[in-house]
């Protein structure tokens, strides 16, 4: 499945206060990371609607990174916990679509953690590279997760 020349495209959602600033700091500190991630700034990781993730994946992204402030350090007090909850639920939904959990990664990075943010990106790029292109939604659902046969209600039972 993996292709040595494959360069994944990853969309990264970052919050205005911590993770976007971590990305800024990685730049200011000239910390290098792979060019596969394209960032979108939102005010808070709590703003990230799961449909944004699905939209990105369906538009051709091979993975989505969600980055917020560390738990307890959210600019909006606790909204990153909401991002955490949504990420958990989204992972379950994505698994049913046959999308590997490593493709949608949640991480925390404070405005001081440029190096950590760069490292997270490098790790994620490696993982998604290993998984290969997503090519969703054209990719068929893997048989293992699809129901063996679709139950049909018999007329008698009804």
């Amino acid at each position: 499945m993996s292709d040595s020349t494959f360069e994944p495209v990853i969309i990264g959602f970052t919050c205005n206060w911590c993770s976007y600033r971590a990305a800024d700091l990685a730049g200011t500190a000239r910390i290098k990371y792979p060019p596969n991630v394209r960032l979108i700034r939102v005010m808070c990781s709590g703003r990230i609607d799961p449909t944004f993730v699905l939209k990105a994946l369906s538009e051709g992204a091979d993975g989505v990174l969600i980055a917020g402030c560390h738990p307890g350090e959210c600019h909006y007090l606790e909204q990153n916990y909401k991002a955490l909850r949504r990420h958990r639920l989204l992972q379950k939904t994505l698994a049913q679509f046959g999308i590997e959990p490593a493709r949608v990664r949640l991480t925390w990075a404070s405005a001081a953690e440029g190096a950590l943010f760069a490292q997270e990106i490098a790790e994620m790029v490696d993982e998604v590279k290993a998984l290969g292109p997503l090519n969703w939604p054209a990719r068929p659902m893997p048989m293992a997760t699809a129901p063996a046969e679709i139950p049909v209600l018999s007329e008698e039972a009804a």
Partner: protein, 680 residues
Amino acid sequence: MSDQQKPERIGVYVCHCGTNIAGVVDVEAVAHFAAEDLKDRGVVLARDYTFMCSVAGQELIEQDIHEQQLTRVVVAACSPHLHEKTFRGVCERSGMNPYLSEMASIREHVAWVHTDKVAATAKAKAIVSGTVERVLKNDPLEAIRVPIDAQTLVVGGGIAGIQAALEVAEAGYEVILVEREASLGGHMAQFDKTFPTLDCAACILTPKMAAAGSHPKIHLFTWSEVEKVEGFVGNYTVTVKKKPRYVDEDVCTGCGICVEKCPILVVDDKFEAGIGYRKAIYWPFAQAVPNLPVLDTETCTYYIGGKGGCRACEKFCPTVPNSILFDQKEERVTLRVGNIVLATGWDLFDARRIPQYGYGRLANVFTSLELERMCNAAGPTGGKVVMRDGKSAPQRVAIVHCVGSRDRNYNRHCSAICCMQSLKTAHLVKERTGAEVYNFYIDIRTPGKEYDEFYQRVLDDGIHFVRGKVAEITDIPFDPAEASRNGAGTLYVQVEDTLAGMQRRIPVDMVVLSAGLEPRRDSAEVGKTFGIACSSNGWFIEKHAKMDPIATMTEGVFIAGCAAGPKDIPASVSQGSAAAARVLNYIRQGELALEPVRASVLAEQCSGCRLCNGLCPFNAISFDAARKVTEINAALCQGCGTCVAACPAGAIQGTGFSNEQLFAQIEGLLRDFSRAPEVV
């Protein structure tokens, strides 16, 4: 939304930033890409220029807005955190709504972090494409302008709060000063001398307390707490709970006869740190501001004795009508304020948490605060340093630094003041008792003005310093020989002397534990009341630790003094003044412009499911039961967008970060690279 009738005209500007961007990204190719490939998206011109933020660069945009009738602007340069304001200003000057411009970060997020020029250029193109799509969906917005109420709330009547209150009041504005205890003064009122100058704390504090207490613009609420805070910057409504003193504030003259006549003596574990007594009706201390006693219902016989109690205070009160009100009730006062300064201070680390140091178990182990009271001439011992028996002077005294600080078992932070406090205590004990004084320290930290000079002075006093963390303090001798050598009642300090490289066991008569500063035990709840966050260890979080240590993430709520972390007196006073300066700045502006990033509900699309209702930590969301729709108070909304993401009906609009903007940006970012699914 873009107007269907009139096509949008977008200008794209790609900055070289000298070689900062142009050294890695092929800026000409990016500009060419925007001009050609994004032509169908409304881009009418794209330029690259050495420094877009320069005057010439800004004029270039201004000129194009006028001559080319641009309707939207994209600047691909540095992070919006650096120059978004600059380019919005350019648009505004040119008669364009500033919110119709966007920045694409191709320096911090591309040129500075990538080395592969081809990949970097491709990424820069994608970012520009995403930003063009986003800017097309931008709405013209207006900054939200809110009026600022000039009345200010200061919470905490310690030195930081007093300073803030005085500064605002001196400038001519009304101040509400709320203090939880019966008097202003805070911890500083408990101290004896202040380092490094050794001037007495009361001598420098009480004039400030008196000034705050008598200032016509300062309205004191002592023995009171802020219960509820509603509203937003400039327009807060606060509810203050006034606890009953059982003394009529309007009548009492503070003569003190009631205190004198009260027959009940109680251990004062608050102001006297447990080593002195007070009456059941009492002042915390002689210079209390306001000069009004408080009746303690837990010890007064009127409340606990049955049979109506002794009522001595009432009998001897000389005022007409009588000042003692046994059935006074708590009151609630609602006030409107524009800004809030939180100077809520700190709590002392409870030394009992370190059992091997024996505090609370071994009589002659004291805390630094107990020593402060003991050294104080107005304290329980009249300034004499004595052992727990109240009379004998110690011959040998150990001072243990970093108790509960810089210790991964308790607090990792350095309490900042205890080195100097310990040195001061060492000096005072030596001066007053002539005892041999040992300091046990990990590191000596004396970075303030004249602080290290004071350390040198204490070294010259002949005080001993042992570098090592004390392992144990015990009253059990090693063997009978040690017992007979040192006498009964000796405490042994077991420590590894890390400079001498040996274990030492030093016999002393008295131990002083320099207990650290901790966040207030209720800081999390207080933070919640005021809508500000605490770090994981409980200190309030500043807007920026270095560049904005006074402001918080909540507009109009400022922090001063130890509420945000341990500080000495000069730093607390400076912060009090700084907070006042910030408040005065807002008051003088009269009104404040806020970013129009807000959520709003489209009532006709809201199904009234209330899913969003519990999501807002700022209480901006409420449910209109009559109309069965949710409403968002734009003034309370902070613009995080969590409710926007949660609304299953898409009825909540996130201004500035709308679904349309974000979907468009995603499409734009992936436009070049999307591998369209094969058509089967």
